[in-house]
């Protein structure tokens, strides 16, 4: 079997170092992706003649529903202006962040944008010290509660920022992929200090690589305190093995369960990962005391720390061959081997195809994408371009059942387009009600993606309730005070949207008959947002 020729480990370390050099040193609130040159495979995929044929209004809606969080009139204008091919190329290689000014101002005003992760972390450390020092039990409890509120607030700010970008960023594919990878490399705010770290995790570990290179993305997620806390690798040390992260790394992040690795591989990987952790000591603080021959092995970058004192230096055999490197180099070598495994290409390709196309993507389509992943050495944009431009993908619009995030964000974009919401709480509430709050999935498998996961009787009823709220009182999103009166009328004028009208001709007779029974605009909105056609993309 042909194996992709992965670069030498030194090359990877260089890339990882380059990626991490930017970590936490970036200007606040920019969330920039490292500019990179499109892989030749991306250009090749976009050269498909099918992408240059003119699109009907309905076809534009289909493409917009697939590539963005949901079609909006303004994105339709962009698509028409650029043409499909150029628009796709732009979506696959977004430049620097350019949220509309008002949305950017809202992001900039957040505490997680104003302060660096170091400052926030020091703030928490100081608060914890004060709690420990408090002699009076009431004072202790008051300080403890204040800290909990603060932690919740930071996690909520990260949710708001995520939604602002999903709703208003012109780089829609990057935002969809940010959600996808946050879900793939899931962490949950219900565990430990994840609330503190999750915003930084998304901003610096996941989002910059959302359309970049999978190997770098994997390393960035591994090194981040959010993941190190969530899957316990921070407490994995020689003599105190914790195999939680090692197992999920293979099972959920890369190769997939049943793809050929063994329990022995999981155990070996757990040993390889001993000493991979983080520290909150000041940046200039001296390294821990190390034996002279281990001093060169110590690594500290931002919060990340590889501590040789905690590492098990026993030689390891992994995926059938001995590992040559030692210390952090051994970790890199193991990750290279995992990402180069054909199982990883297939696992990632299939998950992408399920997310964008259909519960049961054709094997041929998955294979094309997997080959692009292998040939490009894990280039996510090239893999996606191959997937999205494949004829099998273009024959399958409207079959992907929307998960709650797509449903809620998509309906909001359709209804209010670029009008920037001032209150995100209703959106967060709807997502919770539908069972898909951001960063809220407790277990590391992330939210499931199949139709049957989201279309049970209870879920459909809940979805209609949310549809009704949006249909009747969508302007709750524009309140500046929680109890303020709603503007009049309190409902969106959905029927006037071009992106709404463009869909209706292809709808079933039953759905159109239902719309005809509407007695007022709120009824019409309710039926429109509840229609079977609105459940798919």
């Amino acid at each position: 079997m042909r194996r992709p020729h992965f670069a030498q480990e030194k090359y990877w370390i260089w890339i990882a170092a380059a990626a991490l050099a930017g970590c936490t040193a970036l200007p606040q609130g920019t969330g920039t992706a490292t500019p990179y040159h499109a892989d030749p495979l991306t250009r090749q995929a976009l050269a498909s003649p099918q992408l240059t044929a003119p699109l009907t209004a309905e076809q534009r809606q289909q493409w917009l529903d697939r590539i963005t969080w949901g079609a909006s009139d303004s994105d339709d204008v962009q698509l028409q202006k650029l043409g499909l091919k150029a628009w796709l190329a732009q979506q696959l290689a977004p430049g620097l962040a350019s949220l509309p000014a008002e949305a950017q101002q809202r992001v900039d005003a957040l505490d997680i944008s104003q302060r660096s992760m170091e400052q926030i972390q020091q703030d928490v450390a100081a608060q914890r010290q004060a709690i420990r020092n408090a002699a009076d039990p009431e004072e202790k409890s008051r300080l403890g509660q204040a800290l909990q509120r603060q932690l919740n607030q930071w996690a909520q700010e990260a949710q708001k920022r995520h939604l602002l970008r999903a709703l208003y960023s012109p780089h829609q594919l990057q935002e969809q992929m940010t959600w996808f990878w946050m879900n793939h490399f899931n962490v949950s705010t219900r565990k430990g200090d994840v609330r503190l770290w999750v915003g930084d995790y998304e901003e610096h570990a996941i989002r910059p690589h959302a359309l970049g290179n999978f190997r770098q993305l994997l390393e960035a997620s591994m090194r981040h305190p959010a993941m190190l806390v969530y899957l316990d690798n921070a407490s994995n040390a020689a003599g105190h093995i914790n195999e939680n992260y090692a197992r999920e790394l293979l099972e959920l992040h890369t190769m997939g369960v049943g793809s050929g690795y063994t329990q022995a591989d999981v155990q070996a990987m757990a040993h390889v990962l001993t000493g991979v952790g983080f520290t909150t000591r000041e940046a200039g603080a001296p390294a821990p005391k190390l034996r002279p021959e281990r001093r060169g092995d110590y690594v500290r970058q931002g919060f990340f720390e590889f501590n040789p004192n905690r590492h098990d230096y026993t030689p390891q055999t992994f995926l059938g061959r001995p590992l040559q490197g030692q210390g952090m180099a051994q970790v890199e070598e193991a990750l290279d081997r995992i990402v180069a495994a054909p199982a990883t290409a297939r696992f990632v390709a299939r998950k992408l195809a399920v997310y964008f196309i259909d519960d049961n993507p054709p094997a041929q389509l998955v294979e094309r994408a997997a080959q692009a992943f292998e040939r490009s050495r894990g280039d996510i944009a090239a893999t996606l371009a191959t997937l999205l431009a494949a004829p099998e993908a273009m024959q399958r619009f409207g079959q992907r059942f929307k998960d709650p995030v797509h449903y809620v964000v998509g309906a909001t974009r359709l209804a209010y387009d670029q009008r920037v919401a001032t209150d995100m709480a209703p959106l967060l509430g709807w997502l919770s009600r539908l069972g898909e709050p951001l960063y809220g999935h407790e277990t590391p498998d992330g939210y499931p993606l199949a139709q049957s996961d989201w279309s049970s009787s209870g879920q459909m009823t809940a979805r209609f309730e949310v549809a009704r709220q949006m249909a009747a009182r969508g302007t709750v999103l524009f309140r500046t005070e929680p109890q303020a009166a709603l503007e009049k009328p309190p409902y969106p004028d959905l029927a006037k949207r071009g992106s709404v009208q463009a869909r209706l001709p292809s709808w079933s007779a039953r759905s159109r008959q239902a719309l005809a029974q509407a007695r007022n605009p709120v009824d019409w909105n309710t039926y429109f947002l509840s229609a079977p056609e609105m459940m798919f993309r």
């Binding site: 316990d232 209870g458 879920q459 798919f536």
Partner: protein, 406 residues
């Protein structure tokens, strides 16, 4: 352009058929009821059912073992060999003492992936481990099908998951309802809207689910109304799992005879605690809820009810380096019910092993001696009077074992 799949697929039941279906019919007296409680995340069974006779247990768990009965914060003695977690004194212990609870240690699946997700899935599907798996056929759905097609039963069971999503165990051709019960709000979609919306889905693959969803919503709201009426009479209002359990009890008393619920938060790799702490609190909340359920469903239904509490696997017998436990193999199943047999109620049932270092599976975990499909198949056979062929429909290629639980 290809037509959308949901328009071209086979027609579902017409809406009127659902509205006319007997959702309000209370199960007849003597109807067996079954509730599966799935503890997701692999709970540490050795902290629940403590092998108090095992020297090795205390050596293997220097910081997290539950002390012997009689010692401070010690286990509650169940018999000479086993003890119960001390936090369960007011909830499960009385049930055990009145022969309405039993435990089956060394239970579980032969799936060895030690992956939460794969093992939960494979248990819920209940299909043989070898061969092709269908993710659209869970064992509780197959049980529903068998009971519905059984001519001797006067009516098919009504099946419901008390969860926001339909679990794999209930996926399949028999219709099953679902709704999370922790927070139930007032419906904004009224009767007329519901009918118009349902009409759009008529004849599509989602038609059945949509119609049923409206119907179940109405039933749950009637139950919540009952709660509010009672709260008006100064009843203490329940919280957390107890609230869910109370609502489940009303629904299973009035309408549903086959139920499913899951409870998460058991993956205790770090600082799990012992007599108190994280795990102790989870066990206490779960147990209070189960006791509430037994109380609220009412005496007659409880006599015909079996609650099975299961989990995907056990945890490592030895504690790990972080005062927690990692993914293991065999676990302990609980069976609760007002009609447990005198042989099973108040006992430790099933095939037993010694609790010694030598007896550990792969030198780390409890072995599995009571395979879940065999045990549950045997239970269903007794509860519902199923033929061996019917048990095979529920659990293909299983060897049903009758532990005489009921």
């Amino acid at each position: 352009m290809q037509r959308r799949r949901f328009l071209s697929a086979a027609a579902g039941l017409p809406f009127a058929a659902y509205l006319g279906r007997g959702w309000t019919a209370t199960p007849q007296a003597g109807t067996p009821r079954f509730l599966l409680v799935f503890l997701r995340g692999a709970y540490d069974c050795n902290s629940l059912l403590v092998p108090t006779h095992s020297e090795f247990y205390y050596r293997a768990r220097p910081t997290i073992a539950i002390a012997r009965p009689g010692q401070a914060q010690g286990a509650l003695a169940l018999n000479a060999d086993w003890g119960l977690h001390p936090m369960l004194e007011d909830s499960i212990l009385p049930l055990f003492q009145s022969r309405q609870a039993c435990f089956v240690p060394f239970a579980g699946t032969n799936d060895l992936s030690r992956s939460h997700f794969e093992t939960q899935d494979s248990i819920e599907l209940g299909q043989p481990l070898e061969g092709h798996k269908s993710f659209q056929s869970g064992f509780l759905n197959r049980l529903t099908q068998v009971l519905q097609s059984d001519r001797q039963s006067h009516r098919g069971p009504s099946t419901m998951a008390f969860t926001a999503q339909l679990p794999l165990a209930l996926r399949g051709s028999a219709q099953a309802a679902n709704m999370a019960l922790a927070s139930v709000g007032k419906a904004g979609v009224d009767e007329r809207h519901s009918q118009v919306i349902a009409s759009m889905y008529q004849g599509t693959p989602l038609g059945g689910a949509v119609a049923e969803g409206f119907s179940v919503r109405d039933a749950v709201q009637r139950g919540v109304q009952e709660e509010m009426d009672r709260a008006g009479r100064d009843a203490i209002s329940a919280k957390g799992f107890s609230l869910v359990a109370q609502r489940m009890a009303v629904l299973m008393r009035e309408q549903f005879d086959l139920g499913f619920v899951d409870v998460g938060g058991w993956d205790t790799h770090v600082n799990q605690g012992s007599a108190s702490g994280n795990l102790a609190n989870r066990l206490a909340e779960l147990s209070r809820g189960l006791a509430t359920f037994a109380q609220e469903i009412g005496p007659e239904p409880w006599r015909n009810t079996v609650v099975a509490v299961i989990s995907e696997f056990g945890r490592t017998f030895r504690e790990n380096g972080n005062k927690g436990t990692d993914h293991g193999h065999g676990t302990v199943y609980w069976f609760l019910g007002g009609g447990l047999s005198s042989r099973a109620g108040g006992s430790i049932a099933g095939t037993q092993a010694e609790v010694t270092e030598k007896a550990l599976f792969q030198n780390r975990d409890y072995p599995v001696l009571n395979e879940y499909r065999d045990v549950l198949g045997g239970l269903f056979g007794r509860m519902y009077g199923l033929s061996p062929a019917q048990v095979q429909q529920v659990f293909p290629a299983s060897q049903a074992r009758d532990l005489h639980l009921v």
